[in-house]
Symmetry: C2
Subunit: 466 residues, 2 copies
């Protein structure tokens, strides 16, 4: 069929990062289990023309790409007009998936250390065949069994948590440039009883997950966002176990009790002001009214080859609810950079957050990392602070790992996640879309919806690994 | 022209509630000022056909009613499909006003008592000619002077609060059945310096405002929502001054420090679960595709005469930025009932909140009062707990006042706001859309957007008056 990228793929090889994985020092039982799940997972993802997708078709009137059941998701259009950023007006394809899914994690304290029940999970967009996912990761379509697969294991713990401790239960956004108002339920349930461990599942301590976060392409996005919402700072700190490097003054100061340079009230006011300052009008439109993009048999793509394309894949797998299905999937152009600059202010580490508009976010603006970009998408020059991130000397780079985005909707999507300490003469005064906040302030905000975008939440999970 | 209701009106009469106003015991200086502002306000609101509105017209393609400048607001259509409530699917006219306005209050401590700078403000939809408004109440169109009126007084305090204490600054929703995703910036700035007092403005203590809240039709919606967001419980309690009635065990227990029957985490989980449980799909549609409603020269109305109509008014006023303008305005059918049931649980007063879907809310569901209804709009029977509210014996009715909704967009809209204590055998167990929460928990949530809907926020302000 002559579809050039991405390749078809038969995958039961071990991840390329395997040597780094073995070097993390996680226990051999985990390594054996993960190797076994990887080789046992037979999956194949073939690229096929959009017009050949079984169960999917383009609506005659709107051009929207949708499933015959009306469920799962729809690829439609979004019209955007905003005074934020370099481009005042555009339209684009966007994924509309209105249903709320579960990103659920079971945790249990064993010998005073919090352990999480993770899952080795295959998704069609993964580079590595399987990644570490939360205990459950289920859209409503999954668990109400629209595609008639097997039932979702462990779902009952989350549907009926009565009598167990709910550590966090909050709706959070996902990629605001690719999804229209998508949100998932990030939920962590603490159990005290024995829980049967299925073959795809394994208990890992928070400290072990922290070390695994430093392996390229291993810990999936859903695990990162659920972990970031865990509110038990004290418990987390206690449980984080041994570090790969000795704590520096900076990493110690991440957990300082107070000394934030802005009160939380001021941070909230800064955020409200940012939301009020910009015009941000979005409007769902039919896909066939999107301008600057074109549709062929094989893809929906940007006329200048930027941003992303929508392609079709046919999936055959042995370790999922349904063993064979077709779907459209979003294929981003290139790898992005997602980074927090970190600065010690008055002896307390502060992260530089950015009030960031993304057209698909529920309320338009959330707090993002200092830098969050695909370089090619900024024709008018690199975004602010990108140079500081990319040119930082090695000793100031606290974290630097390529981590995958959601493999169920995105094909081979990954970003380079970085935590970078700035030097002392980096100014405290920053442009008005930016604000210095402490980790504890962000943890407090993560109890609530729509403060931190998914990239910032991923980095919050990475921060726990320091 | 034969437009039957509402009447044209020449208004510089004192409010019908004047005797009750004088009986509140607020100081005579206030009474003199308010009487003076009322008689000095010359305003006249005439109903005119929609097709005669200067500057407004129906779009040929969509039928949407919009201003020629593209600003202010648009009356358009909304299509709703939901598994919440009695009606699974409908369409309706809705007001789309995407810009964020200021509801701003200046406060100042005088002799240890917090005072608020209120404004006597005329709005075309008011029943009384003027109501008590916050210090400023300005849409972006107002203060960027789209209609070329005079500049908004005091705006600078809110646009540039630097150096002053920002007590709260948060986006909150407005009527979710009438507005599409409307939100305003509720902001309170504390000043220490002298502030010039304009003739429309007056300082009142929080205690005085609390007493004035018991006067029908006096304290406007915007004042109530800003006041409800004031986080300074302790300061508020101290400043609230003398009460009209001796505090009962129940009213004392409203300020109890702890003893909530659900942890805040559990309340948040209950709220997240409610948002996840229902399908709530809304879609903006052209006004001419709304079904079950019709448009005449004079109004856009429901075919069975329910809910509301959109009518046209021509306004002539002497105490507003612009002295004459026309606009469409939403005219609701009848008066609603908005009430919290309150129960002492373990010696601590709890309010019964309801997770309530309203199609225009940003995230679909917010926490509303126990009862919030227009009786005529429930063809299948009265909503839950309405009987308990309406049949409560007098000694259990803690608050009962008819308060106006926003007079800039709604014509003669008012609800009967009630706080009702239930008797001891009222069950603690409630249906899953309901939850008992304490006042302190709600105050904590009011720091954040989109937890409490505008009716619940109004009642929170009323609660302060007890």
């Amino acid at each position: 069929m002559g579809l050039p990228v991405p390749d078809s793929r038969t995958d039961n090889s071990l991840p390329a990062a395997w040597p780094r994985l073995a070097a993390t020092g996680v226990d051999s039982e985990f390594l054996a289990w993960f190797a076994e799940r990887t080789t046992a997972t037979h999956c194949r993802t073939d690229r096929i023309p959009l017009t050949d997708l079984r169960g999917w078709s383009f609506d005659d009137a709107t051009g929207n790409l949708r499933h015959e059941s009306g469920r799962f998701f729809v690829v439609e259009g979004l019209q955007v007009r905003t005074s934020y950023g370099q481009v005042p007006e555009w339209s684009q394809p966007i994924i509309n998936q209105p249903e709320i899914g579960f990103l659920g994690l079971l945790v249990k304290e064993v010998d005073g250390v919090l352990h999480c029940l993770v899952q080795a999970k295959m998704e069609p967009g993964n580079v590595n065949p399987v990644q570490l996912a939360p205990t459950i990761q289920a859209t409503r379509s999954n668990y109400t069994r629209v595609h008639r697969g097997s039932s979702t294991r462990y779902l009952d713990y989350f549907l009926h948590p009565q009598g167990r401790r709910v550590l966090v239960d909050v709706l959070q956004s996902e990629q605001g440039s690719w999804f229209h108002r998508k949100r998932n339920r990030n939920i962590v349930i603490q159990v005290t009883e024995d829980v049967p461990v299925a073959e795809d599942h394994h208990w890992l301590s928070l400290g072990e997950i922290g070390r695994l976060l430093r392996v390229d392409g291993l810990v999936n996005m859903d695990t990162r966002t659920v972990l970031s919402c865990l509110p038990l700072t004290a418990l987390y700190d206690r449980a984080a176990g041994r570090c790969e490097r000795a704590p520096t003054a900076l990493t110690r100061s991440l957990t300082a009790e107070d000394g934030a340079c802005h009160d939380l009230s001021d941070v909230l006011s800064w955020f409200t002001h940012a939301k009020s300052r910009y015009e941000m009008a979005t409007n769902r439109i039919p896909l066939n009214q999107v301008r600057g993009w074109h549709r062929t048999r094989d893809e929906i793509a940007h006329d200048e080859g930027r941003h992303f394309s929508i392609i079709g894949v046919s999936v055959h797998a042995s370790s999922r609810e349904v063993i064979s299905w077709d779907q459209p999937i979003l294929y981003p152009k290139g790898q992005g950079v997602v980074a927090f600059l970190i600065k010690s202010i008055g002896g307390v580490a502060h992260l530089l957050v950015q009030a960031r508009f993304q057209a698909g976010l529920v309320d338009g603006i959330e707090m993002g990392p200092t830098v969050q970009c695909h370089r090619d998408n900024y024709p008018l020059g690199p975004p602010r602070f990108l140079d500081e991130v990319l040119n930082a000397p090695a000793e100031r780079i606290l974290f630097d790992t390529v981590l995958p985005e959601e493999g169920g909707r995105f094909y081979h999507a990954a970003n380079r996640y970085m935590l970078v300490e700035v030097d002392d003469d980096f100014p405290v005064g920053v442009p008005e879309d930016f604000c210095w906040v402490t980790r504890r302030q962000l943890i407090e905000l993560l109890r609530h919806s729509y403060y931190l975008n998914v990239e910032a939440r991923s980095l919050m999970a990475c921060l726990q690994s320091l």
